[in-house]
């Protein structure tokens, strides 16, 4: 994208150098100061920074002790590490000089910090090239309802349809993740690996970046049976056994193996028993349905919902929740899988939050119960005290009467 605004470009390159060397010596950047100072003095129009002034300003301030060693002060040649640190410091100091680019495409950000489903805009989709379909001759007529028109011999997908379907898919991922379902992200094309793995990481889901092994769902025990499973609670933590449960289990195992109890070892957490078998996914996200026909067929056979990117040449009925979009552009694919991954992450966090609330509620309830019990106990106690007092009083009366009768008898 073309930068919208360029600020603070100096006309005197020599001064840049002087500032650069100064930065190097002082090991810090003045860029923020530059911007705030400039804005305060001249808020309108492009900023012209007086570097001379900056240099003076910097010189007037007390110099901070630098962690970057200097060859002159050390009296020996720098080591490789020190040289590298110097280089980094210099880079850091100088990369703020010159123009500031705003709103430009940083390819890695789709992976490291993808947009959330709330940030889906038509502009974003357009900029990512998500609307570009295939040559009109290759189309699948099932996609007619997604197609906006034809331009230069290719179909263009309607941006609002993409956004709507993407939002729906994100909600599905969010919901499945919130309920602790197993989500697989499948992207087997070249270049999709990192985005797929990152999305799986965010969701705490699973990924497939190379060939889908046929039978992973239909013949799961044979193919996946020897891999490890574990038991997790709502907060994705393993469930701990109490000391007593451990002891019980230990004794049982000891009895079965005819061993001494002290020799038997049991795990701290609840384990999935040997021979439990493999698990199936609850949701599959497929970035290239064209190459994963077998997988989609297996999912359909076991009623596992699927989300897929449907380009104009793909049959839209092969997945449960289609996202009509360009599956050939890495940028568009990374955007979509990034958004879905983020949705999964949000769902997971919502689950944690819900669990925390539930625990709080439980605690409150227990407290209420305890309070009620206490009040009840107190009441019975008071009643008892009253009763005792009455008893004592009646006893005393009885004794008085007896004494009186004795006296009268005498």
């Amino acid at each position: 994208m073309i930068p919208r605004r360029v600020v603070a470009r100096s006309s005197q390159p020599s001064k840049i150098i002087s500032r650069y060397t100064l930065c190097l010596r002082q090991q810090r950047s003045f860029s923020t100061e530059t911007l705030t100072d400039g804005k305060a003095s001249a808020p309108k129009g492009p900023l012209i920074v007086d570097f001379e002034e900056q240099v003076k300003l910097a010189a007037s301030e007390p110099s901070r002790p630098s962690t970057i060693p200097q060859a002159q002060t050390l009296g020996r040649p720098l080591t490789k590490l020190e040289e590298y640190q110097r280089l980094k410091a210099a880079k850091h100091a100088s990369d703020q000089i010159g123009g500031v680019l705003e709103d430009h495409y940083k390819p890695h950000e789709l992976i490291t910090n993808p947009p959330s489903p709330r940030d889906i805009t038509l502009e974003l989709l357009l900029a990512s090239g998500a609307h570009l379909g295939h040559a009109t001759a290759l189309w699948n007529p099932g996609n007619q309802r997604f197609i906006f028109g034809i331009r230069q011999g290719i179909h263009l997908i309607s941006l609002d349809v993409i956004a709507a379907h993407l939002r729906r898919a994100a909600r599905v991922v969010h919901g499945v993740s919130k309920n602790g379902g197993i989500i697989i992200f499948v992207g087997t094309r070249f270049g999709q690996e990192r985005a797929v793995v990152e999305a799986a990481k965010r969701t705490k889901g699973y990924h497939i970046t190379e060939r889908w092994v046929p039978g992973t769902i239909t013949n799961k025990d044979q193919l996946l049976g020897d891999q490890k499973l574990r038991v997790l609670n709502h907060l994705d933590q393993e469930i701990q056994l109490t000391a007593q449960q451990k002891l019980q289990l230990k004794k049982k195992l000891a009895a079965a193996a005819k061993q001494d109890t002290s020799k038997v070892k049991v795990e701290e957490t609840v384990q999935v028993p040997h021979g439990f078998g493999a698990v199936r996914p609850d949701l599959v996200v497929c970035l290239n349905p064209l190459e994963n026909r077998t997988m989609l067929q297996e999912c359909a056979q076991y009623r596992i919902p699927t989300i897929g990117i449907i380009d104009t040449d793909v049959d839209p009925t092969c997945v449960t929740y289609p996202i009509p979009a360009n599956d050939d552009s890495l940028r568009a694919v990374q955007l979509i899988v990034g958004i879905l991954g983020k949705a999964g992450q949000e769902g997971r966090l919502a689950r944690y939050e819900g669990e925390a609330e539930r625990m709080e509620e439980l605690e409150k309830q227990q407290k209420r119960l305890a309070e009620a019990q206490r009040i009840k106990d107190e009441a019975t106690e008071t009643a008892q005290v009253h009763k005792d007092a009455e008893q004592a009083a009646s006893d005393a009366r009885q004794r008085d009467l007896e004494r009186e009768s004795l006296i009268s008898n005498r």
Binding site: Y84, G180, Y206, Q227, K228, N233, Q245
Partner: protein, 338 residues
């Protein structure tokens, strides 16, 4: 057992079943061993049981013995005391929403052993790929784990082609400037290095034995030779025969004594050589190399001279293999019209 126990998918029931097994009455222990499986038939083979099948079988055997012996000698008595010590049994309740999930995020690839290590390494590479690197020629020599070794480490079967990819990433990580390698990366790389590499690198020093002999071995074409060099007056025996008897051609004899000749040491050493395999010239070449190596053990400073004389390098030329579709290695069959 409650009705919940009949649902094989209910986690709570499974764990309760586990603890029912733990309840120390003879009856329930017997039940574990002998009760008919209430799970659906397709689940029978992979039923959720607390103990491995082997242990269950043992328990069943015990059961039979018990039945044969006296009835009332139950386990109840045996555990009654222990039970009193333990206090009341605790009902095992899993928190609601507990679920069974795979450990590895690569579970559904069916090859989590490979993918987990591969992705860890790729992550490290993404993290540190901007660090300055050495030239490929400057990188310290490293031997990575062998495939079999890697399989044991990863705990699964990994194809050779996959491990090749892993090694390529390791090689790239290893190129990072050694002074700048971060600690975490260092630890991971150390993990992938062959443990006996240092020992492998150490070469056995060449020695002159107590009889004053230095041994050298050489090869050429399909011949092998070894030669013992002793300080002496210029005698030379090959396979127990004098040199001229073994090699009638002058060229071969010249070749064998060439390392001594160029260094002007023909009359200072005695050679005792043996050679096997190949033809006459091959054997001669092999002995030349063997003599050179033995001579270098005596006088290492002669190396540049010998290098210039061209006797240090092993001649790599051998007979080229025959290929199918050809008469010899490269000879094409004669072209005929039909």
């Amino acid at each position: 057992m409650s009705s919940a126990t009949r649902n094989p998918f209910s986690m709570t029931c499974c764990l309760r079943a586990l603890l029912e097994d733990v309840s120390f009455t003879g009856r329930s222990l017997r039940m574990v061993a002998t009760r008919p499986r209430i799970l659906p038939s397709y689940q029978q083979t992979r039923a959720f049981t607390a103990t491995p099948r082997r242990m269950q079988n043992e328990a069943a055997e015990n059961e039979e013995e018990d039945d044969v012996d006296t009835g009332p000698r139950t386990i109840t008595d045996k555990y009654k005391k222990l039970r009193e010590e333990d206090g009341p049994e605790e009902e095992f309740e899993l928190p609601p929403g507990s679920r069974i999930v795979p450990v590895s995020p690569s579970y559904f690839t069916g090859n989590s052993a490979f993918f987990d290590s591969w992705l860890t390494l790729k992550d490290l590479l993404y993290k540190y790929q901007t660090l300055p690197t050495l030239l490929p020629s400057e990188v310290p020599r490293t031997a990575w784990r062998t495939l079999a070794d890697f399989r044991t480490m990863a705990g699964g079967t990994v194809q050779a082609s996959k491990y090749k990819k892993v090694r390529a990433v390791l090689q790239r990580l290893n190129r990072i400037q050694p002074d700048l390698v971060p600690e975490d990366l260092k630890m991971v790389l150390e993990n992938y290095k062959r443990p006996d590499f240092a020992a492998m690198q150490r070469r056995r020093p060449k020695i002159i034995d107590r009889f004053g002999r230095a041994r050298g071995a050489g090869r050429r074409k399909t011949s092998n030779a070894e030669a013992y060099l002793v300080e002496g007056s210029g005698g030379c025996y090959v396979n127990g025969k004098p040199l001229f008897e073994m090699f009638p051609r002058v060229v071969d004899r010249e070749s064998i004594l060439w390392p001594l000749k160029v260094t002007n040491r023909v009359d200072r050493y005695n050679v005792w050589a043996s050679s096997r395999g190949g033809g006459i010239s091959g054997q001669a070449g092999a002995i030349t190399l063997a003599v050179t190596k033995a001579l270098l053990t005596h006088e290492p400073l002669l190396k540049p001279v010998l290098r210039r004389a061209g006797v240090i390098t092993r001649d790599p030329r051998t007979v080229e293999r025959k290929k199918h579709g050809k008469l010899k290695a490269r000879d094409m069959p004669a072209w005929v019209a039909r």
